[in-house]
Point group: C2
Chain length 166, copies 2
DNA sequence: GTTGATTTGTTACAATATAACATCTCAATT
DNA sequence: AATTGAGATGTTATATTGTAACAAATCAAC
């Protein structure tokens, strides 16, 4: 576990990642789809911390495990994980992050810290309700959405000690 | 003016684009920055309709006017126009759209129609207020944001006649 | 008209993503 | 056990999007 992960939110990240993986596994079983080795490895790599991960970084990281891995290997796994709702694409970063609410149907707010680079998926019913009203007013039927906020997270605001950034 | 533009919202698009260009010109004068020929041409091309335009499409379209144009030509102009707040990047499309509120400080909702491909920038104080509250609650300091909603716009919902796509 | 800052030209390349087709795997059926 | 068919992966090639770095030109201010 990296320092920056600990800054993000004091939490047991082993538990965090285990929950994500076992839930994903259960859901795949229920849905009759295969969580293959590659797909599970990509999901684990994405959940390694709370940063958004780039596809080609995943490619490098999976090569020790899958020496034949090519871009298509990663993008296929990412497509699968997105279809199953296990990960989100962070559009404004061209990167991917684990979804921490596998029950809820659609994406919530993504709070992206410029300092520690953690991405927090946050529920915000008030925002979603206001948004739904606004869309109704506009006569717009939403299919999917991306709400991405860039800034400085609470932890980084409080602690000015340098987080372990690149 | 394309059919799909007319579907978007019955409006005088010449007026629409003229307003955008003259306002941009005024703001540049006020700010002491140069709206050069290239920058103005790119802005005009972006305002040609209400679609989000891709950088390399802009490059093709500007070549008759700027035969020496290269990718950097476009990206520099786009950078300038974004810094000045004249255009937005649509993160989920890797594309760019004119900003129709040059006074307001930051980006509002972008409603992106999958059918006619128009992008409507919409103000939604209720959403922004709810968002501000939510961010305050999270202790998150926002620097910039992207709120992009994909779906079907009111006009396309009402009229099922095929819009002039692609 | 010289100077300094800004803008543009130009070449090369990095980073992100997909298409297309071959091969493999594995379970269900014959 | 062999066949088959669907899904997954291997593989090559290429498309798309974006940036770095440095040279040349332009333009405003002095």
């Amino acid at each position: 576990m990296s320092d920056s992960t600990e800054l993000f939110a004091p939490h047991n990240h082993s538990l965090c990642i285990n929950t994500a993986l076992t839930t994903a596994s259960q859901l795949c079983a229920e849905r009759g789809v295969q969580l293959t080795a590659i797909r599970q490895q990509v999901l684990e790599l994405i959940w390694a911390d709370h940063h958004a991960v780039k596809a080609y970084d995943l490619l490098e990281r999976i090569k020790p495990l899958q020496s034949a891995a090519k871009p298509a290997t990663i993008y296929r796994a990412l497509d699968f994980l997105r279809e199953q709702g296990f990960i989100h694409r962070v559009e404004s970063l061209n990167a991917f992050v684990g979804c921490n609410d596998l029950k809820s149907a659609h994406e919530q707010l993504l709070l992206i810290c410029k300092r520690c680079e953690n991405v927090e998926e946050r529920h915000a019913d008030s925002v979603m309700q206001a948004l739904a009203q606004e869309l109704a007013l506009a006569g717009f039927t939403a299919h999917h959405q991306a709400i991405e906020i860039h800034g400085i997270c609470a932890t980084c605001t409080q602690s000015n000690n340098t987080p372990s950034l690149n």
